[in-house]
């Protein structure tokens, strides 16, 4: 990791050796290739030029830029594989270069499970265009029509029929210089490879960084290092919105290695992504910073959230959920149908706050100089971090370089920039590079939490046991409250994550949202509102199946109804053309729901499983981030009466899949993530302060608690690619709880299971 200052403009050039040619490095009008962009994506200003994404060294080494952040989802391998495929590059000769934050890459905010679906075509065109130019360069060299030339595995070959007497092949390295001088070919002259000729897309590949990770050589944010750097720890106000009333740093300053104690600017609502304030200790090493912080004597003014109490707040949410709320979707007349009487089923569900707890706590290294700054941040959003640092320091954005080391997990936490801004403020105060290191306690106590939620359901069952009316209410402090204190209703994004987008074939559906005031910073956590909504909806569906006396699998298929494309208007889903939503390439397809349900059930041996005697099986299906996922979970109760997860079968339809082995890994991990939140996950506040602090009070699954076996079944599909990182999480908890019901007869209406004595 170099300390040499780089400028944004020089970043890509600096990557290459002196003799290298970046294809078509000349200026290109902005938006020249805008038609490549999925019109649904906010990328219109991006330069879709192959040189943005790749270059070729004279020795033939192909460098491919990874502009998305690698937090364990495999994106740093997957998207370059797409480029390499269309380029006909030899993967063994590809080097991946991690981009700095720069708007020329379009959105780099690595969230919403949209990296592949937003950039798949872009990467194909980048690789295919470069291949076309290399082929043209070879044709010119040979003086033959381009039709007689063919790019294949890092070289352009003359077709056999015309090869006699000519050079059999020209390597990409030999052609790079000539290709770089060619004009950008018009799009219609670029022929993308047919699916049948893909050599990397759809084929397993190990992660690019695999060996570096296993030998301790991979560079994470925590590992960033520059000369003369100092280390810092921050004592944050225990209550959100609290401020420093006074402090005594005498003992802290006496710690060997402590250099400086700095009070950070006070926090002001709304929280946004600003730092929390507090007092920082800057030292020669991390330990001295931690020790100094421990010895600070600080008096806090706790501010307006000092009364936040999770037990009281839960009652408030549940009461709100039992009252009529703002209508978010209305088909038919569910209220009238329910009022007419009959077999009515009612249930309330609750799911608590969660913390991300990525293994690498938040950390950032920033070097602020008079006229510029350079940062190394394990961030999901390097452009956002760049802008936030620039704003905090008072520099133009283009004077801030944001490097992106590997992220030691993130799950949504690292799309926030509070910790990066802390490092920038402290670097300015110390006039040295400063790395701010959050402890695990900081991470858990000062997270942007997954929202707590209460839900209320009412359904009326017809003669066949299927619902004729469905009333569902959800109440949760919304993510919007982090950015605007007055926001108390969920956004269409949150409501569309598993609540308004209910796919069931029910004639009368009413979906409502009640208000909730936020008292903690609410953020995005792997699959976001889908977690609590899927828990409520899919558990309640299972309740209805049992009430109807029908097999839950058969009942779930009946709820889904006949194969059809569901009109988004019917769902009142606000499908704006945004990455997290969907639009025409991604219709809501009941056949795809049905297929994953049937596949998961069949592979799990649903029909052969005999529940009872403490053994149970449960199923749930959920579509999120445009991917269809069904989970079947098998459990037994051990000798202590605790739930053991014996087997999980997850079937998914994510459309076109780039790296299947990685997709399987993501869904294996999602089952463990789901098990952690279902069994143990809970953040609570008392007197405004979060009560949990480390892995003893905020446990996550360990090896003996995780599902013993997760089987992932990928539906083969030519549909456009959909999300992979998040969609495995939502159906897990309800499938587990449905299995617990089958095993014990106990319906779990509140998470986590540890409170039911089952974990």
């Amino acid at each position: 990791m170099s300390a040499a200052p780089v400028t944004r403009r020089r970043f890509l050039e600096g990557v290459f050796s002196a003799g290298a040619f970046v294809l078509c490095a000349g200026a290109l009008p902005r938006g020249a290739w805008a038609e490549l962009v999925n019109p649904a994506l906010p990328l219109a200003d991006t330069a879709f030029h192959p040189s943005v994404w790749l270059g070729i060294e004279p020795d033939g080494t192909v460098l491919i830029v990874a502009a998305r952040s690698e937090m364990g989802t495999g994106i740093r391998t997957a998207l370059p594989r797409v480029v390499a495929d269309e380029l006909e590059a030899d993967w063994q000769r590809v080097r991946i270069v991690q981009a700095i934050g720069d708007e020329k890459y379009g959105s780099q905010d690595t969230d919403g499970s949209h990296s592949i679906r937003s950039f798949f075509e872009v990467m194909r065109w980048a690789g295919g265009t470069a291949r076309t130019m290399l082929t043209q360069a070879a044709a010119a060299r040979w003086g033959v029509p381009v039709e007689q030339c063919e790019a294949r595995l890092h070289a352009v070959h003359r077709r056999a029929s015309t090869a006699a007497g000519g050079d059999p092949a020209l390597g990409y390295g030999e052609l790079a210089a000539a290709a770089a001088r060619l004009p950008l070919p018009p799009r219609e002259s670029v022929r993308l490879k047919p699916r049948s000729q893909w050599r990397y897309i759809g084929h397993d590949a190990p992660a690019y960084d695999l060996e570096a990770i296993c030998t301790g050589q991979a560079g994470y944010g925590m590992d960033a290092r520059v000369p003369d750097m100092l280390f810092a720890a921050v004592a944050h106000p225990p209550v959100l919105g609290g401020t420093v009333a006074g402090y005594d740093a005498t003992a802290a300053r006496a710690v060997a290695g402590v250099r400086q104690v700095v009070e950070l600017p006070p926090f002001h609502f709304p929280a946004g992504m600003q730092p929390l304030g507090g007092v920082a200790v800057i030292a020669d090493n991390t330990w001295a910073a931690f020790e100094g912080r421990r010895k600070l004597q600080i008096r806090w003014d706790d501010g307006p959230n000092a009364g936040y109490d999770s037990a009281a707040y839960r009652q408030q949410l549940e009461a709100t959920a039992r009252r009529p709320g703002k209508v978010a979707r209305n088909n038919g007349d569910a209220l009238a149908e329910l009022a007419a009487g009959g077999q009515i089923v009612t249930a309330d569900y609750y799911a608590p706050h969660l913390a991300h707890a990525s293994m690498e706590p938040p950390v950032a290294l920033v070097d602020v100089r008079a006229d510029r700054a350079e940062a190394w941040v394990p961030t999901q959003d390097p452009q956002g971090a760049q802008a936030a640092i620039a704003a905090a320091i008072g520099l133009p954005k283009d004077k801030v370089i944001c490097h992106v080391p590997l992220l030691g997990g993130a799950f949504g936490r690292k799309s926030m920039h509070d910790f990066a801004v802390e490092a920038a403020l402290l670097s300015r105060a110390a006039a040295r590079p400063v790395k701010v290191v959050w402890s695990r306690e900081d991470d858990i106590k000062f997270d942007y939490y997954h929202s707590v939620a209460a839900m209320h359901f009412e359904a009326k069952l017809g003669g066949d046991g299927l619902p004729t009316a469905w009333l569902a209410r959800t109440v949760f402090p919304p993510i919007g409250s982090t950015f605007n204190d007055a926001t108390e209703y969920g956004g269409s994004g949150e409501l569309g994550m598993g609540f308004t987008d209910l796919p069931f074939a029910i004639p009368n559906v009413r979906v409502e949202n009640g208000p909730a005031h936020g008292h903690l910073r609410i953020g995005w956590l792997r699959s976001v509102a889908n977690i609590y909504h899927a828990f409520g909806v899919e558990s309640f569906a299972d309740e209805l199946a049992h009430r109807a006396g029908r097999d839950p699998l058969e009942y779930l298929l009946a709820l889904l109804g006949p194969d059809r494309i569901v009109d988004p208007a019917l769902l009142s889903v606000d499908y704006k053309p945004r990455p997290n939503a969907g639009n025409n390439p991604y219709p809501i397809d009941i056949a795809r729901y049905r297929r994953v349900v049937e596949l998961a059930a069949e592979r799990a041996g649903w029909g052969k499983f005999k529940p009872g005697n403490g053994r149970g099986i449960g199923i749930a299906v959920h579509r999120s981030f445009l991917t269809y996922v069904a989970s079947v979970v098998q459990v037994h109760l051990d000798e202590n009466g605790l739930v053991r997860i014996d087997r999980v079968d997850t079937a998914l339809d994510a459309g076109t899949v780039v790296n299947p082995i990685n997709v399987r890994a993501q869904f294996e991990g999602a089952a463990v993530f789901g098990a952690s939140l279902a069994l143990y996950g809970e953040i609570t506040a008392k007197n405004g302060a979060v009560e949990q602090a480390n892995f003893d009070t905020y446990p996550v699954c360990r090896i003996q608690q995780a599902p013993a076996a997760v089987h992932v079944h990928i539906v083969a599909s030519d549909a456009p690619p959909a999300g992979v990182g998040e969609p495995g999480v939502p159906p897990f908890a309800p499938a587990l709880c449905n299995a617990v019901f089958a095993a014990t007869g106990r319906r779990i209406r509140a998470l986590p299971l540890v409170h039911a004595g089952l974990a």
């Binding site: 690698e70 296993c214 301790g216 001295a288 020790e291 892995f695 076996a709």
Partner: protein, 152 residues
């Protein structure tokens, strides 16, 4: 002055004897393969070997490890990858990878003690190492594969 051997090299240390080995390795020796995860011996990301036995370096003070021989992830490969590292690669274990150095060091120690570990022995030995990405199934498979291959 404290003396310590790390990955075969001798060092002397003049700083705070209460400083955990983790921060000495990371901040002073710049051996950053060993990770900070919890600071309280709860997650195992900082696992290294002290005289061949796995310890949590985040709670092992310099005073406690003085005079001993420490091996970190950087010192595990001896010219070629350790069989456990090879098994980790073959089973494609890591996702974010942050915890994996600790997992590998713990697994190496397990296989030294139990060359053919049972499932229960694997669970007991590995239960202190958290992987938030949820790679446990592959960790288990990699340990078994390494055991089959005779990893020592």
């Amino acid at each position: 002055m404290l003396r310590i051997k790390v990955n075969g090299r001798d060092y002397s240390f003049n700083g705070d004897p209460n400083m955990p080995l983790l921060w000495y390795l990371r901040d002073e020796l710049r051996l950053t393969g060993t990770k900070f995860g919890c600071g309280a011996a709860l997650c195992g990301a900082c696992t290294v070997h002290q005289d061949g036995r796995p310890i949590r370096s985040c709670v092992a003070s310099m005073a406690r490890v003085a005079g001993s021989e420490i091996v970190t992830i950087e010192g595990l490969a001896n010219g070629e990858l350790h069989p456990v590292q090879r098994a980790w690669i073959a089973e494609n274990v890591p996702q974010c990878g942050y915890c994996q150095a600790g997992q590998i060091m713990q697994a190496v120690a397990l296989l030294r003690a139990h060359p053919r570990p049972s499932d229960a022995q694997i669970e007991e030995a590995m239960s202190g190492n958290i992987c938030r990405c949820g790679t446990y199934q592959r960790i288990r498979a990699a340990i078994k594969a390494a055991a089959q291959g005779g990893a020592q």
